[in-house]
């Protein structure tokens, strides 16, 4: 019933005329409805990303030709901070549906989608590519139809990676949501009812109580989703684990146990899902017949792929041409802004990473070496990390303005908020994975504290640290867009930085600058990834791996 009512009100709301000055009700009693709106947005975007990522990954993994184009594209798209897409997506959507709320709504969903889809698609692709050869051979030899192969081999094989990436994606979705529910585009102030706009409005009004309520609601929603959705799914996905021996300890979930025990559900499944699957599989089964039309089909497929390739190339060329034209209108001062900003942001981000490492390494190692403590600290760090950084920005800003200190410090604090958790829990994981015999060796040789750190702890956590840094660095570039430029109670705070350039261009609707800055930021992210992180990653996975094989 509640679900039905919710759907109905969502539908009614979407078809309502566009309101540029939505009043966000700061009363806590409005929060459940706002939470529902936000969750619905994320859910729609998530299912969209799921479908697209499975199709994208499937096509890229199954066609060598498509693979050559699709994977580098994915790699690049993955490293463009999601907020760079904001103005483009929003303007096109609002232009498509100028009269209804649907346009803005679709825009925000599309934006969340762009924040979620890439890593999922990559996960699908790499799982499909890593299916053991002999399994594929079994599937071919026994002539499994494409449908049976998908259901019985490919989907199960990609399940675990896809689920973990889904969790990460949804967390990224919250990040995007916080920003895209309320933003200024040129002279239009667009607002969508939701948790993100609630928090922003509250902090603009300086209503501390409302901010606290909003945060509580958000953490509650995140924890609820974790417990009601992700835990059961992870516990259920255990059976897709590709292991030869059964793990002694496996994650459980009371919710899943409840669902499994539910007689009603299993009866529903046995009369609906099972027969449908049977019928579908039998429908697609080729039986003993020799495929006859194969030749004809292949011809057709060849033609379609040619046409698609031609269309795609045409589209890309057109877009590149347009972009080139747009870039020529950049003034010299704009260019200077962009490049100065890029340098400033780069330094700021590296400084943030260093600061984060300075406190998280000792703390993380301290926690990680004590199993009892890490059992408590690990989930807490996870919750802390799951709160999207933009949600906290207004509060930090509020505090800093009260204490004093400009946006220079504030932006670094903001970046820290968005990045440190990844490093922290990777360090905890690394420290707790140090084998006890190696620790005992240090004991027996009476290694001093410094020696112990140099010879054992730092090398042992190195791979984990790098993993943390890679995630943190990506997050930091993304966060820099909102951390360097802030509108607060009708005032604008900003400092030199690429993020500020992007935000300002978004506000002013200055597309050439936005495009130029986006290209520069993507290029920097890709370069930094290639030149620094990927090399360190290789080093970590070869020399510092705690394995002797």
């Amino acid at each position: 019933m509640a679900l039905f009512y919710g759907l109905l009100s969502l539908a009614r709301y979407w078809t309502a005329p566009v309101n540029t000055q939505a009043n966000i009700d700061l009363n806590p009693s409005a929060l459940p409805a706002y939470a529902l709106f936000s969750v619905a947005r994320i859910a729609v975007a998530y299912f969209l990303s799921l479908a697209v990522s499975v199709i994208y990954g499937y096509v890229a993994a199954n066609s060598a030709k498509a693979e050559r184009l699709m994977i580098p594209l994915l790699d690049t798209l993955q490293s463009i901070p999601v907020l760079c897409f904001l103005p483009g997506v929003m303007i096109s959507m609002v232009a498509l549906f100028p009269t209804t709320q649907l346009g803005v709504e679709l825009g925000s969903i599309l934006l969340i989608f762009t924040g979620q889809v890439w890593n999922m698609a990559f996960s699908v692709y790499s799982s499909l590519k890593s299916i053991p050869r002999e399994m594929l051979e079994a599937a071919r030899l026994y002539r499994l139809s494409w449908w049976q192969k998908l259901v019985q081999l490919e989907l199960p094989h990609m399940a675990i990676g896809l689920i973990w990436n889904s969790m990460m994606s949804v967390a990224g979705g919250w990040f995007a949501l916080m920003v895209c529910e309320m933003f200024v585009l040129g002279n239009r102030d667009l607002r969508l009812p939701g948790l993100g706009s609630y928090l922003q409005t509250a902090s603009n009004a300086g209503a501390t109580r409302s901010i606290v309520w909003g945060l509580i609601a958000m953490v509650a929603v995140i924890i609820l989703i974790d417990q009601l959705v992700w835990r059961p799914i992870i516990a259920w996905s255990e059976k897709f684990k590709f292991e030869q021996v059964e793990a002694s300890e496996s994650p459980g979930s009371p919710v899943l146990n409840f669902l499994r025990r539910s007689k009603l559900l299993s009866r529903i499944a046995s009369v609906s899902v099972a027969p449908a699957r049977e019928a579908l599989t039998l429908y697609f089964a080729r039986g003993d017949a020799v495929p006859q039309a194969a030749h004809h089909e292949r011809n057709l497929a060849k033609w379609t792929s040619w046409i698609l390739a031609a269309l795609a190339t045409g589209g890309v060329l057109y877009a590149v041409g347009k972009m080139g034209l747009m870039l020529t209108s950049l003034a010299r001062s704009d260019l200077r802004d962009i490049f100065w900003g890029a340098g400033a942001t780069f330094l700021r981000i590296e400084l943030t990473l260093v600061l984060a490492a300075l406190w998280t390494i000792p703390v993380g190692v301290f926690i990680g070496l004590r199993p009892k403590l890490s059992a408590i600290a690990q989930p807490m760090a996870q919750i802390a990390a799951s709160i999207p950084a933009p949600a906290l920005f207004p509060i930090v800003l509020l505090l800093l303005i009260r204490v004093g200190g400009g946006l220079g410090i504030a932006s670094i604090v903001l970046l820290l908020l968005g990045t440190q958790w990844y490093i922290l829990f990777n360090v905890i994981a690394g420290a707790s994975a140090i084998p006890s015999d190696l620790k005992e060796v240090c004991e027996t040789f009476h290694l001093s504290k410094i020696q112990r750190w140099r010879k054992l702890i730092l090398p042992a956590i190195f791979p984990y640290l790098i993993t943390g840094f890679v995630t943190a660095s990506g997050g930091a570039w993304n966060a820099s867009i909102i951390a360097e430029y802030f509108r607060f109670r009708n005032q604008t705070f900003s400092i030199t930085g690429l993020g500020a350039v992007i935000s300002r261009a978004t506000d002013a609707g200055n597309f050439p600058v936005l495009l130029g800055a986006t290209i520069v930021i993507s290029a920097m992210v890709v370069t930094v990834n290639r030149l620094i992180w990927r090399r360190l990653y290789t080093l970590a996975s070869t020399r510092f791996k705690l394995e002797f094989t």
Partner: protein, 569 residues
């Protein structure tokens, strides 16, 4: 001494001049002829032996080692074999028979007496040519000149499997034996239709694969079960693919599971089962579709010895008891005893590129006893066959091979293992049967062969007809202390290993005495596949480091010249 004559013969055979070859052999002194004959590739020996006139065959046969004679005789049709034996010089014949192990003696005397009437009726001489191909059955699979080559990125080609003809007849278990990396699995995949050959074609019942749907199943070494499906669901997978309806599918899967002894495990997941049980599921899945040919790719190698033995026994029970409708089993293995235990016909594959070295029947009945004399005879025979250095077979393509020879494949063996083998031989008085050593060390031929090859390459040992013997330098090496050993190893390696010579001279001539390994990798790339290059570099680094020829900086992937004055003092 006979090398040139053997080469000449080889060339003639390469051109298909069988009759000319026979004529040459006839002209030679019998001992020389036998020697020349023996030095040829086994695969050619068999064909040639069948073409020899009875008189010549009878003259040469007693000169060969007894095991060789025994197997060659059995590559003939029964009548022809008897004719040859009867034509032998009586003294030589009794000497040959006396030499045979008991079981083999029993068998051959049985065969002789069994056919006595027929043979005497026919006068023991006139044997029609048709008898040779005694009632050939229509083969299920026929491979015609299939080969496999991979394109290198630089445009060159790497031949993995040389053009090969092969057929699989109904009613037999065929075992394909060969050292690891010899392309056995690739051959299996080409026969089953999983991979297409680069050239040639595979026929099933006389029709090319593109026009037929072969009813085949494979049992994989890694089981290749779907871990997320229960045992029952796993077995149902191929049935579902054929569109078998639910009730029927269920019934057939249960029946198959029952027959492999998995009753009661239907709802278990593969990861809950032991390796042996998992492979039973693998068998059940393969047998569920009632395949005409059951392919098995090293099905027992991932299992422990006892489990493997047990499963082999059960498989034979199903096969011999005709409890499965399967018409033929094609087994790929590197385990010689397994092949002799199970197979009716054994095909031995050579390496680089893969080609058939020998193809013979194992004539004695099932069930076979592992310690029976004839069993051991065959095992011994195959050992000798596989350890005999491969002679270049087929038409010689001189220029091409010359390049290859300078880059002989380095056997993948560690210096420590080589030293171990040499020491063991020294303890045994310097000479031992390879088969015995392998048995004693509980090593499979596949593991010990590279070590022997390496020791031979370094001329620490020499091997002949399955025996290995310590050379004088090998003896010195065995008795030396560690630092002297390193010096000896260095000398031997630099004298015999081209790659190490090149590395050494490159390092000496460079002013900074350092060299990127990538360079050598690139050079090797032109001759070998990626995996082989990887293995060879690894071996070369191991040897070079052991012999103090150079140091290796793994971080920068560079070779550094070893500085003796730094290391020694």
């Amino acid at each position: 001494m006979n090398r040139t004559r053997a080469d000449e013969l080889q060339t003639i055979l390469g051109q298909g001049g069988w009759d000319r070859a026979v004529a040459i052999l006839q002209r030679l002194d019998p001992t020389v002829a036998a020697d020349t004959f023996m030095s040829m590739p086994y695969e050619d020996q068999q064909v040639l032996f069948r073409r020899l006139p009875i008189e010549l065959a009878a003259k040469l046969a007693p000169i060969f080692p007894y095991y060789h004679t025994f197997v060659l005789l059995h590559s003939l049709s029964k009548d022809q074999m008897i004719a040859v034996v009867e034509k032998m010089n009586p003294i030589e014949r009794s000497m040959f028979l006396d030499e045979l192990p008991e079981g083999a003696w029993q068998q051959i005397t049985d065969e002789l007496s069994e056919h006595q009437p027929a043979a005497s009726l026919a006068g023991g001489v006139s044997i029609s040519v048709q008898d040779r191909a005694a009632a050939p059955m229509q083969p299920i699979i026929e491979a015609r000149w299939i080969e496999k080559a991979f394109q290198r990125p630089d445009g060159g080609q790497i031949q993995v499997i040389a053009p090969t003809n092969l057929s699989v007849e109904p009613g037999v278990i065929v075992a394909l034996l060969g050292p690891s990396g010899s392309g056995k699995s690739t051959l299996l995949r080409m026969l089953s239709g999983l991979t297409a050959p680069s050239a040639g074609e595979v026929l099933w019942h006389g029709k090319p694969l593109s026009e037929s749907t072969p009813n085949a199943a494979i049992v994989f070494q890694s089981f290749a079960l779907f871990p997320w499906l229960t045992v029952l669901e796993n077995v149902e997978v191929p049935l579902l693919a054929r569109g078998v309806k639910h009730a029927e599918r269920h019934r057939r899967a249960l029946r198959t599971l029952h027959s492999v002894g998995l009753k009661g495990f239907e709802t278990a997941y593969p990861k809950e089962l032991s390796g042996g049980m998992r492979q039973r599921v693998g068998f059940a899945r393969a047998l569920a579709v009632e395949p005409e040919v059951l392919f098995m790719d090293e099905p027992f190698s991932a299992l422990d010895v006892l489990t493997a033995e047990n499963l082999r026994g059960e498989l034979m029970e199903l096969w011999l008891g005709k409890k499965i409708p399967t018409k033929s089993i094609f087994l790929v293995t590197h385990n010689i005893e397994e092949a002799v235990l199970l197979a009716d016909r054994i095909i031995v594959l050579g390496r680089d590129p893969a080609k058939v070295r020998a193809d013979f029947r194992v004539p004695f009945p099932q069930p076979r006893e592992r310690n029976s004399a004839e069993f051991l005879l065959y095992v011994d025979y195959i050992y000798k066959l596989m350890t005999q250095p491969e002679l270049a077979a087929g038409p010689p393509a001189a220029a091409d091979r010359e390049v290859k020879k300078s880059y002989r494949m380095l056997p993948h063996a560690r210096p420590g293992s080589i030293a171990g083998l040499v020491e063991l031989l020294n303890d045994r008085g310097g000479k031992e049967d390879l088969y015995r050593i392998a048995e004693e060390l509980l090593m499979e031929l596949d593991d010990i062969l590279p070590i022997v090859e390496a020791a031979t390459l370094l001329s620490f040992v020499k091997s002949e007809h399955g025996d290995i013997e310590l050379t004088s330098s090998g003896k010195a090496f065995a008795e030396a202390d560690i630092s002297t050993r390193k010096v000896q190893f260095r000398e031997a390696a630099l004298a015999h290993v081209t790659l190490l010579q090149q590395m050494n001279s490159a390092l000496q001539s460079k002013s900074d005495h350092s060299m990127p390994v990538e360079l050598f990798r690139d050079t090797l790339d032109e001759h070998f596949s990626d995996d082989d290059v990887q293995r060879q570099i690894e071996t070369a680094l191991n040897w070079g480091r052991y012999g103090d020829i150079f140091a290796y900086d793994s971080e920068n992937d560079r070779l550094l010249m070893h500085q003796p004055n730094l290391a020694d003092h």
